[in-house]
Symmetry: C2
Subunit: 98 residues, 2 copies
DNA sequence: TCTATATATCGGCAAAATCCGATATCTGGA
DNA sequence: TCCAGATATCGGATTTTGCCGATATATAGA
């Protein structure tokens, strides 16, 4: 849990938005073909943020490398879900250190 | 209280360090000529982080523009103190939205 | 008024971040 | 085996950030 890396990952509003969307999957990703329990399919984010596929992939990768997202690869898809443990640990750490 | 601007301000480890140092002034700035109750004098940060005067000034300015620091100008000095209201509001907001 | 000190701002350079389109990789199905 | 779809990675252009030294500004004191 690298606090600095996480803070850098959160320094872009699109990435913060991704995390917030994923907090309420049924609200923001109800049109997903796969069950939401599998996680959120990468292509779902493209439609919503208007950025290109490669840019979205990079944002997701940044969040994943920082430990904020977990990824499950199933077939040709990549399903992302929040890493609640890391997020909670980060918030605790930030609240006590800052 | 602009969450995005605050997160960008926190995306540099030196700035986070400044805020953390200021949480315990007597511990980190005990050598300050002026009473710590006035705030922390800008030049105190230079000695501790090894960066140039202009760079430190820019970091402090970033924190102040984000609302995380308040500044009191007294004579030729600039005294900085944490803006606890904004910091607490930001942490609350982040904890509930993230 | 002259000088010393503290801080802010400017100009320029280097590094990092952001974005895109193109391409590579991987999977599943025909 | 070939093709289509999903995602990752590459290459390059642009913007932002970070850093410094030099300079400007402002204050205090001689």
């Amino acid at each position: 849990m690298d606090k600095t890396e996480i803070l850098k990952a959160l320094a872009h509003p699109v990435r913060v938005e991704f995390l917030e969307w994923m907090k309420e999957p049924e609200r923001h990703f109800s049109n997903q073909a796969h069950p939401l329990e599998m996680g959120i399919c990468a292509n779902q984010f493209e439609k919503r943020c208007g950025l290109s596929q490669s840019t979205v992939s990079a944002h997701l990768s940044t969040l994943e490398k920082a430990g904020l997202l977990k990824i499950d690869r199933v077939g040709q898809w990549a399903f992302y879900r929040r890493n609640e443990e890391t997020i909670a640990a980060f918030l605790d750490e930030l609240s006590s250190s800052l």
